[in-house]
Symmetry: C2
Subunit: 202 residues, 2 copies
């Protein structure tokens, strides 16, 4: 498969889960899903994760929106996501690549205030200079939110929409930089009862 | 840095979180943490994830044990983990590399019955033949549990201890196969009220 063929089928995807730490977890998830326009992505949910596929702009738009709607219920909500774009894999949802580039939920969520703590890791696969790509993108995040070192990841603190927009830009820049198979993992927590900061155990 | 130097400092690590979907989430997590012998690993918890570092055998032993103790409370528990072993990064917890190789919690958890649904993805970084490594390790999992295709990952169904032991073997085999920087992500769910199987949305 040539690079040209790859770039023609560059459907993006995200496998994610939203975990409200509450007896009302089903209601919180159902509310978030109902609040979001998912018409521009392919979506499938099972008992472990939800998968979304489509144009990168819509994959980010929908996942951002689901997290923000879940978090603004005020419940302690954890969000875990793996964003992926690259050659290998399946073709479910390829039809959604014909959608336009206008994010369906952006105007609804862009002004919602919701502080968040997140950690992300970027994995550009298949190339030897991946650490340089990662370090450059960590620096780029400083324009958006507070950035600090964490183990196996980079910590981000700030408004959730800024964190998520920053992550989208980092992912886009890695793809535009020539990575043929890019993976990014994100862990995010809103309304946590824990104080910010590390707490070392023996 | 030569490969020899890499192999001398091959501390493993895991950044993970346990999410009980319950108002009792703090009690479930506290119970699980108290039930586990963590003396052979370095551990740090903040408001997003918990990080464990040490010998690979103990990193898996402790994370397995925390998940299984949380799941056996009967609550719907989600577990997300990124296991990592490789050169780049920090040295916190290096002192724990002097521990012996006897997993401290194995005898306590090895007979606990707890069905689980999981998805895992393996990322051997920095090399071009990573897809071959991944496909070989997915085949290897079939010895342990039910294996099926999922989007951006491989689905595993079976007893949690078999799933987790299988994941440990897959990770070990990837490292032993020469991967200098190996990352594996795992999403796992126990006691989910959802029926097994996919549920496609419009």
């Amino acid at each position: 498969m040539t690079n040209q063929q790859c770039s023609e089928s560059r459907i993006a995807g995200c496998s994610f889960s939203v975990h409200p730490m509450s007896d009302n977890f089903i209601e919180v998830i159902t509310h978030a899903l109902k609040s979001v326009d998912k018409s521009k992505v392919w979506m499938e949910t099972d008992d472990v994760t939800t998968t979304i596929r489509g144009k990168l702009v819509h994959v980010f738009d929908v996942t951002k929106s689901i997290f923000i709607h879940a978090a603004k219920t005020g419940e302690h909500v954890a969000f875990q996501a793996t964003y992926s774009l690259g050659c290998p894999g399946d073709s479910a949802g390829d039809v959604y690549m014909a959608e336009d580039d206008i994010p369906a939920n952006n105007t609804q969520i862009k002004d919602i205030k919701q502080p968040v703590a997140a950690k992300f890791s970027l994995y550009p696969l298949g190339g030897g200079n991946y650490m340089d790509v990662i370090m450059k993108q960590i620096e780029a995040m400083r324009k958006h939110v507070d950035v600090s070192h964490a183990h196996y990841s980079t910590r981000l603190d700030g408004e959730s929409i800024k964190v998520l927009n920053g992550l989208e830009q980092v992912f886009n820049a890695t793809v535009d930089g020539g990575s043929n198979h890019t993976v990014m993992t994100v862990s995010m927590s809103a309304n946590s009862p824990s104080h910010k900061g590390a707490n070392e155990h023996e």
